[in-house]
């Protein structure tokens, strides 16, 4: 695996995504000229943060190979926001809400990592089961009702913006992506992730602690889901037990669209962020031209299939 080939492929992928995005925007503007307003960009970014964070986690897990996938991310976001708020309502210090979110999210992700690396369950089955456990718990514990009472000092994080850019996108999404890119490309740990995703056996032979790294990857993915939960709390002012619904589908669509190979070892975070923006632009645009939100699920699903159909040739190693 040559880094140059990666970069080249990543570059063309970014160009393709940019092209798609432009075509989409032009199409939307033609369909509804009123869409061309600065606040639309803010809206897109406002919706992007949660998907971006979750997709970054999904990227990490998938990159690490071993049939890695985290289907439970949506359930994790729901359950983390519910549990964190429940802790605060039960008398926990509200100042610690961000820490609660991060801690619970990482813990739930760590459970996945434990099941995958220590119990040796297939990631697909382990995280499918935890998706139903986490998502089910979030609904069952609350009876499907929101938990309100998010401290008011948190709401600027969720609703404020600086010259049109939502604060959470600026202070959470962008830095985590920068950090993710830095770790993946500049550190030994990042090299290990690519190495074990590319060829697990060789990675073991050269001494990479594959299980240790993988366990950490699932925990990090959960931590990012916890951050997404925090953003949702700050944004909506309450914990919604179904906030994470469909995030597993959306995040998979985003990372595959962004050029991450489903079998691991190839892809980067830049493409993923671009894909997230593309998906959210599409969704926001559809909403603007008054297409029911249930359609978004269908369109993201179709997008996922179309991208894979168009893209399966470079990723033949799977099947």
């Amino acid at each position: 695996m040559s880094a140059i080939a990666f970069a080249r492929r990543g570059g063309s992928k970014l160009a393709l995504l940019a092209g798609l995005w432009l075509a989409l925007v032009v199409g939307l503007v033609i369909a509804a000229p009123a869409i061309l307003q600065p606040f639309m960009a803010t809206t897109v970014l406002q919706f992007s943060t949660i998907l971006a964070l979750v997709s970054l986690g999904q990227t990490m897990v998938v990159l690490g190979g071993g049939a890695g996938i985290d289907l439970s991310l949506g359930g994790n976001v729901s359950l983390t926001s519910v549990l964190a708020m429940a802790l605060v309502r039960a008398g926990g210090p509200a100042a610690l809400l961000p820490l609660f979110c991060i801690g619970i999210g990482a813990l739930l992700g760590g459970v996945n990592g434990f099941l995958v690396t220590r119990i040796r369950l297939l990631p697909l089955i382990a995280t499918l089961a935890t998706l139903f456990i986490y998502g089910g718990l979030a609904v069952a514990l609350t009876g499907g009702l929101s938990i309100s009472g998010v401290p008011p000092w948190l709401t600027p994080l969720g609703r404020g913006s600086v010259s049109g850019v939502p604060i959470h996108f600026l202070v959470i999404a962008l830095p985590t992506f920068a950090l993710g890119a830095l770790i993946l490309t500049q550190t030994a740990w990042g090299r290990w992730i690519y190495a074990m995703g590319h060829n697990e056996r060789s990675a073991r032979l050269v001494g990479v602690d594959v299980d240790g790294v993988r366990l950490t990857l699932y925990a990090v993915s959960g931590l990012l889901a916890g951050l997404a939960a925090l953003v949702s709390l700050a944004w909506f002012g309450s914990a919604r037990p179904n906030i994470g619904q469909n995030l597993e589908l959306d995040s998979l669509a985003a990372i595959l669209l962004g050029g991450v190979s489903i079998s691991g070892g190839a892809g980067g975070v830049g493409g993923v962020l671009a894909a997230v923006l593309l998906i959210e632009t599409l969704k926001t645009g559809l909403q603007f031209v008054n297409i029911n939100s249930i359609w978004q699920v269908g369109i993201v699903g179709a997008l996922l299939i179309v991208v894979l159909l168009a893209d399966h040739l470079p990723n033949r190693r799977t099947s």
Binding site: L115, L121, L124, L128, G144, S263, I305
Partner: protein, 335 residues
Amino acid sequence: MSTSSTSDLARAVKRGFRSVIGGRELTLLAACLGAAVIFTLLSRNFLTVANLTVVARNCVELLLVGLGMTLVITMGGIDISLGMTVGIAAIAIGNLLTAGFDPLLAAIAGPLVGGALGLVTASVIVLGRIPAIVGTLGLLGVYRAAIYLMLGGQWISGLSPELGQLLNGRIAWIFPVNFAVIAGAYAAAFLMLRRMPFGLHLLAIGAAEEKARLSGVKVRRTRFLAYVMSGFLAGLAASFYVGTYRNVEMTIGGTLVLDAVAASVLGGTSILGGRASLSGTILGVVLIRLLQNGFTLIGVPSLWQSVVTGILLILVLSLENVDLLRGSRTREIAV
């Protein structure tokens, strides 16, 4: 090399289908009985003819979807859009009934619509060479939107009871139709996995796809057919669903997929493919439905059902793997 790998494969295929009752099946049976004893002690309403009939009734759809899922998993695939297949087929049946078509025709339309959707799934995954989990996840989204579009947020309800009378009735006043259909489907699958080339090919592909290809198995055709078949079975399940409940709601088929995967895997069908147990799937279905019924009777809200199934799945698989790991610490996860 090719001869030795061919005979290896033949042996794997032969071992892969457990036609007799083995340790796993006995464990499940014991779990069913244990759960039954506990629920009998905790609730007076559990061990009654009426309640056990309800449990048996609730097993019908899951037995059919679980069989389809077992066939797909046997060859190393998965179809997590099957629940939505049930939903779309149910809508088709409901619309036919509303339009005044003959209930028999509606009952037959279910599996046909399911088979057609299976054809779509098969095309996407097999012809499009997309990993099954991602492809069917995408289809799940598409189908969910399609269901919304077709129902428009409203239930189809108040359907005539004729379909139910037909499908839950009795042949010659003795033999329940639903039981006969399920027994027939399982018997056919049993013969297939035991004797027929198609079933043996499913096992061979699941055990070692590349070796199967080298041994002359038409891998793509077999995989294609398996997805069509599981869609057909899901459509059949839809006929029974509409016949019994006489309505079609937005959330139809929602948790059916996890239950079906759980039943197959609990029953001893390997998620990696190559190993199947039909009696295991049946016992897995019964255990899941028994637990759901029992928990409801002792006052656990139905919202907890998916939590219980998820935990059960992880628990059983973990126990199995902890046993395996005691033997060798270095087993790698196969992709």
